[in-house]
């Protein structure tokens, strides 16, 4: 039986390829969250003139949090490091996740990306994203006779 000689793992590779093809978002190298070990919980609120995002990022110093904006996508990423050099054998319970985290959001077009501000308090990062000032008056477009 020739089937016996095929590498069973090639089936998995094939499955993997099919899967990535089905989910184009994951195939795009930059957008994949693969490699980050955890991602923070968030609240996103829309107010009249701005969006407010609260992200729970406990145990990470503000200087280890990197917030960037590119092509309409806001990225919050960073790394949680161990707090102290402790004897690894002394742990009775470890539920906390360490390592890199990442979360990305596609922003609505009306966000004024130059005016985004961020602050951090007690492990909660607050991002304020003002909306661009828009002329909300409906515009009347007249059709000229040619």
């Amino acid at each position: 039986m020739t089937l016996m000689r095929t590498n069973p793992w090639s089936l998995l590779d094939e499955f993997n390829r099919e899967f990535s093809r089905m989910l184009p978002g994951f195939a795009d190298d930059d957008s994949r969250v693969v490699g980050s070990t955890w991602s923070p919980a968030v609240d996103i609120k829309e107010e009249d003139d701005r969006f407010v995002i609260h992200a729970d990022i406990p145990g990470v110093s503000p200087e280890d949090i990197d917030i960037s904006m590119e092509k309409g996508v806001l990225t919050i990423k960073g790394e949680r490091k161990h707090e102290a050099e402790e004897n690894k054998e002394g742990y009775h319970r470890v539920e906390r996740a360490y390592g890199t985290f990442m979360r990305r959001f596609a922003l609505p077009e009306n966000v004024d990306t130059d005016k985004i501000s961020a602050s951090s308090k007690d492990g909660v990062v607050e991002l304020v994203l003002p909306k661009a000032v828009q002329d909300n008056q409906p515009k009347k477009i007249t059709v000229n006779n040619g």
Binding site: K45, G59, G90, V94, E95, R96, G123, V124
Partner: protein
């Protein structure tokens, strides 16, 4: 064909082991948030509280050294004085009230993943502690408690007399 099946079985077993590990870690940290004071809140806050999850992950870490036990708990967005910590019968009980932080009432939430309200997390301690000597600090959303072990449970080094 049998080797293929074996490989798939092995891969599946690994996925299951990983998943079980994840579930056991997460379900320990899973903590219920209740809204006892909901009736006192204004309409907007009440509506928000109803849309927030009833369960949150309060991940903990318990480390034992010769003299003390250090407990770290992830509870972001608290006021340091909104915690209540007690030790009863070799169990650490941390309770508190996480308030919604918002400058303005108006607006609508698109995503609510963070839990708010009252919570209580119980953690079994690996040794007897002297709670009168306990120290607590709260920084970057992590509550750190240092609990000295009671005299009986302290590790004593017994020197071996040389011949």
């Amino acid at each position: 064909m049998s080797s293929l099946r074996q490989n798939i079985d092995r891969a599946w077993a690994q996925v299951q082991a990983g998943w079980n590990n994840l579930v056991s870690k997460a379900s320990n940290a899973l903590t219920r948030f209740t809204h006892k004071d909901e009736a006192e809140q204004d309409g907007e806050t009440r509506a928000l509280l109803r849309s927030t999850p009833e369960w949150g992950l309060l991940a903990a870490e318990v480390h034992e050294s010769g003299d003390d036990i250090t407990v770290r708990l992830e509870v972001p967005g608290m006021d340091a004085d909104a915690f209540d910590v007690e030790v009863a019968d070799r169990t650490l009980i941390v309770s508190g009230h996480k308030q919604v932080q918002q400058q303005r009432k108006e607006g609508r939430y698109h995503i609510t993943e963070c839990a708010y309200g009252e919570f209580e997390r119980r953690l079994p301690l690996p040794a007897e502690v002297d709670s009168s000597g306990a120290q607590a600090s709260y920084r970057n959303g992590i509550l750190t408690l240092t609990l000295p072990k009671s005299e009986r449970d302290k590790v004593r080094r017994i020197p071996i007399a040389g011949r």
